[in-house]
């Protein structure tokens, strides 16, 4: 890890949010729906970061929000990765019509705005965390699938695949030994990028009022709730925004670090 400041910073930033979420599972300063704090109390005193316009403790809300952000991020990335990588591998190896059909389906899905997809899902179900994960994960799977397909095609065109085949390596072995190891570093980096984007997407959904309401609200919803009082109590809007940035930047730095570890041509010998 020495000599990799970006990776270390990524660990610290992402770890901070992870710690907040973990602690929120066992301990919170106040009950999330406790409104006894007085409206818009300033930071300090009984409330480290003050309270919101209904008197709920801001730190409590932020900790719950961290849990929600990670749930959405990890949940939709899992969904998007499983669907997307499977479809991408299929399209990558398929020839002719199956590849064409899958590619066309992906293009349509990608052209479909995530927000519109999310609204449809929310309309069909309800404004809940599950709906957000479903909508964001579906939208993500199309992007992941297209990337996976391109990566597979590119690796398959390489001489070392032909070389492996000339030595009598069977297709399944070629996939396990050469194709997957050569695509996963890029995929991993992209998936972590997607994790950050998923958290942001959920924040936008919530900001539009499509996410679950307080007391168990995401950072996006907190931002929306605080926007009316941004001049009198700026911390209510600034704090969730800062945490969003911390998580997204942290995850991206981590992703770069992982790629460096996985790719020997990037690993500088020292």
């Amino acid at each position: 890890m020495r000599g990799r400041p970006a990776f270390v910073i990524g660990c610290v930033l992402a770890g901070l949010i992870l710690a907040m979420a973990a602690v929120s599972l066992v301990w919170l300063p106040y009950d999330p729906s406790d409104t006894t704090g007085g409206r818009l109390a300033p930071p300090g005193g009984g409330h480290l970061l003050g309270t919101d316009k209904l008197g709920r403790d801001l730190l409590t809300q932020l900790m719950v929000g961290a849990r929600i952000a990670l749930t959405v991020g990890i949940g939709s990335v899992l969904l998007g990765a499983v669907l997307g990588v499977t479809a991408g591998l299929l399209a990558g190896f398929a020839s002719d019509w199956l590849d064409d059909a899958l590619s066309a389906a992906l293009d349509i899905l990608i052209a479909f705005p995530t927000l519109l997809l999310a609204m449809l899902v929310v309309a069909a179900r309800e404004a809940s965390l599950g709906s957000a994960v479903l909508a964001i994960g579906l939208a993500m799977s199309a992007i992941v699938a297209r990337l996976t397909r391109v990566l597979v095609k590119r690796v398959l065109a390489q001489d070392y695949i032909t070389a492996a085949r000339t030595s009598g390596t069977s297709w399944p072995r070629v996939v396990i030994e050469h194709v997957l190891p050569n695509i996963w570093p890029t995929l991993l980096v992209n998936l972590s990028l997607q994790l950050g984007l998923a958290v942001l997407a959920e924040a936008s959904l919530s900001y539009l009022g499509l996410g679950p309401p307080p007391p168990n609200a995401s950072w996006g919803r907190l931002l929306q709730e605080a926007q009316a009082t941004v001049l009198t109590a700026p911390l209510g809007a600034v704090a969730p925004g800062v945490l969003l940035v911390v998580l997204v930047v942290g995850v991206n730095l981590l992703a770069d670090g992982f790629r460096d570890l996985a790719d020997p041509t990037r690993r500088r010998s020292r």
């Binding site: 070392y160 000339t166 030595s167 009598g168 069977s170 190891p181 050569n182 020997p264």
Partner: protein, 263 residues
């Protein structure tokens, strides 16, 4: 006995155009055949067709028999038994022919382990022996392809191709990407290994001087068709086809230029 019997081989693109047209040749144990032609004449496609590994969209027609097994139209499963064991290939570009993310030793161990059923310490010893045979130190097994030189990479590729002790070796411009001194080293290495194991060699090149050095017989390929074939010596002395004559003349001109500089 013929190890490789190619008869009336054509390689057809999806649009119906023939990239290789009606090519025939045979190769027996210990024989060395050169396949010479300009860039794009279909040399690599011929090699791939022999392995049954044409790019998607291309089809082979005619007959290719590898140690008795018909390759044209055969299923992958049957061919996997022939590939590596009967025939090995060394490619033109040594950097791209090795998996960038896999240590050199593991790449050699792959075919070795599968074909000979070795694991653990015996496998490591076999990898070391394979490296030694291409004159590379055992320590190289731990290196990644980008950490070694072009000549070393091509030696690794040769070790991989020979790992399963094939009876036929196809070398597709194995020295084109290397500088001249390394080229000579790799050629003499190939020469020695092929002689030691009494392998049949199909040597592909666009360089007449190199082919003349390595091959006993030669086929001249132009735009996918064999325009002339015969003993290398005869063809260099008395080229009949205009294209062959041009090849010989340009090779001579180069030699003449050198001779004038250093009489």
């Amino acid at each position: 006995m013929t190890l490789l019997d190619v008869a009336g081989l054509s390689v057809r693109r999806a649009d119906g155009r023939d990239l290789v047209r009606d090519l025939s040749f045979t190769l027996g144990p210990g024989e060395r055949l050169g396949l010479i032609g300009e860039s794009g004449s279909g040399k690599s496609l011929t090699a791939l067709a022999v392995m049954g590994l044409l790019p998607a969209g291309m089809t082979a027609h005619g007959s290719v028999r590898l140690a008795g097994t018909q390759v044209v139209g055969a299923r992958d499963k049957e061919l996997d038994r022939v590939r590596g064991r009967t025939v090995g290939v060394v490619f033109q570009e040594p950097l791209t022919a090795l998996d960038p993310l896999m240590r050199v030793g593991r790449q050699i161990a792959g075919p070795l382990g599968r074909r000979r059923g070795l694991r653990g310490a015996p496998l490591r010893a076999a990898v070391a022996a394979a490296l030694d045979e291409v004159r590379l130190p055992e320590s190289l097994a731990r290196a990644y392809p980008h950490e070694i030189s072009g000549g070393q990479r091509q030696r690794v590729a040769i070790a991989m191709a020979l790992a399963c002790e094939p009876e036929v070796l196809i070398a597709d411009e194995p020295t084109t990407a290397l500088d001249v001194t390394v080229q000579a080293e790799v050629l003499s290495l190939l020469d020695r290994l092929v002689a030691e194991r009494d392998m049949a060699l199909l040597f592909i090149s666009h360089d007449l001087a190199v082919v003349a050095d390595v091959a006993d017989r030669v086929i001249v390929l132009k735009d996918g068709s064999g325009v002339e074939s015969g003993r290398t010596r005869d063809i260099v002395r008395e080229p009949r086809h205009p294209y062959t004559r041009a090849l010989v003349d340009s090779a001579r001109a180069l030699e003449g230029a050198l001779d004038r500089l250093a009489p």
